[in-house]
């Protein structure tokens, strides 16, 4: 049984990745092929030809149909086979599974699980990503580690001080207490850390132009399994948000991660940084993109190592958890409950 919850939405790609070609990508152990039809709709099909299993992602797209690159079976956007070489009669079972897809906030989501149980209400949102009030930089790094290790990593920002010193980490991050809240029904974990008077890390000093000490807030919102939001507020010390009206004397950075399992031991690490200042400033964009990628790669290197350690360790190895792990533990517990829910099969229908 998979370690990720089934019957959930996962981010499969950025909108801009799916243009006029075929994109092959494995999501939660499912090899999928994505393309965009001439009317702009995104299609996701299983990436295996029914004939001899040739990957459709290595085939040809013509008139919104995929022509298999091996012997020419042709599939329409529903996965139905519409042509087979040298035959008039197309086998009735010639069909590749199609997956439900939604495109919102510049993200392409795919429903992993039973396709007739698709639920739009479960789709979490990140509206900054394609809002005209924000400028977003983004990337995606392949991670050779199970997705749970990335969840742990992101739920505890104390590691910023050590793993990301000189970029986003300063001593205050590890030293400031955290508040954790869990909404069991809504299945959201909130982890907040508010630093009233902190050093400004280079990541923010360079992009905001603030000199001197800052008030730095980190409010995490994790919607398991896939979407992680870090609402980051940076302001000169003493600048508090007004009781009413816009908080326009502060800088806001919305850091978004989509944590998409690829296999049991690898993950698509989608990262995005949206900001509400210097919107047109390409230099700031380049700086944030390059620096954030560096920070993400620091995590990737550490987690790739950790995956090897975890795979090699004895069963029932005991970790030690401390205060900073409160949010991570809550996330693991929600995920475990969702994995269990996802496994529950609808009552079997006996038919002959």
């Amino acid at each position: 049984m998979p370690s990720w919850p089934l019957n959930q939405w996962y981010v499969a790609a950025y909108s801009r990745e799916i243009t006029d070609g075929l994109l092959g990508r494995t999501i939660c152990g499912e090899p999928l092929v994505f393309y965009r039809t001439s009317d702009g709709e995104v299609v996701a099909l299983a990436d295996r030809c029914v004939h001899r299993r040739y990957p459709l992602s290595l085939s040809h797209l013509k008139d919104d149909q995929i022509i298999c690159g091996y012997h020419g079976f042709t599939y329409d956007r529903t996965g139905g086979c519409v042509a087979a070489p040298g035959q008039k009669r197309i086998p009735r079972t010639a069909r590749v599974p199609a997956f439900e897809v939604r495109e919102v906030d510049s993200l392409v989501w795919v429903w992993i699980g039973e396709q007739d149980r698709v639920d739009d209400a479960l789709l979490p949102r990140a509206p900054w990503l394609d809002s005209p009030d924000y400028t977003t930089v983004r990337g995606m790094e392949p991670l050779q580690a199970r997705y749970g290790l990335l969840v742990d990593n992101l739920m505890d920002l104390s590691h910023e001080t050590y793993l990301h010193g000189g970029y986003i980490g300063t001593p205050e991050v590890a030293e400031t207490p955290i508040t954790t809240e869990v909404d069991e029904d809504a299945r959201v974990v909130y982890v907040s850390r508010h630093m009233a008077d902190a050093a400004c890390p280079p990541f923010y000093a360079r992009s905001t132009g603030i000199e001197g000490r800052i008030t730095r807030w980190q409010d995490i919102e994790y919607h398991p399994p896939c979407l992680y939001l870090l609402h980051s507020r940076i302001a000169p010390v003493g600048v508090e948000p007004p009781a009413d009206g816009p908080d326009d004397r502060a800088f806001h950075v919305e850091v978004v991660y989509a944590i998409t399992p690829e296999t049991e031991h690898s993950t698509h690490d989608f990262w995005m940084v949206a900001r509400d200042f210097a919107l047109e400033d390409q230099e700031v964009s380049d700086f944030l993109a390059e620096n954030n990628r560096t920070v993400v790669l620091q995590d990737v290197v550490a987690l790739d190592v950790l995956e090897q350690v975890v795979e090699g360790e004895k069963e029932n190895y005991q970790e030690l958890s401390i205060n900073i792990d409160t949010g991570g533990l809550a996330a693991r517990r929600l995920l475990a409950a969702m994995v269990k829910d996802g496994e529950e099969q609808p009552a079997p229908v006996t038919a002959r």
Binding site: S3, R146, G148, P177, I178, T179, T180, E181, V182, D183, E184, D185, A186, Y190, S192, H194, W217, D219, V310, E319, S321, I322, N323, D325, T326, L329, A330, R332, R333, A336, A337
Partner: protein, 81 residues
């Protein structure tokens, strides 16, 4: 006991909202059940176990302090990967 807690950014309400705050200048975590009952611990796993078990103990005479009982099965999920 709650006077020196850090100010919350947001206070969620609801029947299934649990809250854990880190007591300033200590290693103590304070957990709040949705019913308002607090519990202190230096161990986040023990604290989550107490919180998640707490609603079952609302009618229990031993009240909010009792968490010495061994963890029932689903509480182990806290540490599983």
């Amino acid at each position: 006991m709650t006077a020196d807690l850090p100010a919350p950014e947001r206070m969620l309400t609801g029947r299934t909202v649990y809250r854990v705050v880190w007591k300033l200048n200590t290693d103590v975590l304070v957990g709040y059940c949705w019913c308002g009952a607090p519990h202190e611990s230096e161990d986040p796993i023990e604290l989550w176990e107490w919180l998640l078990a707490h609603p079952d103990q609302h009618d229990d005479a031993s009240g909010e302090g009792g968490s010495d009982a061994p963890a029932p099965s689903d509480q182990r999920e806290l540490v599983s990967r």
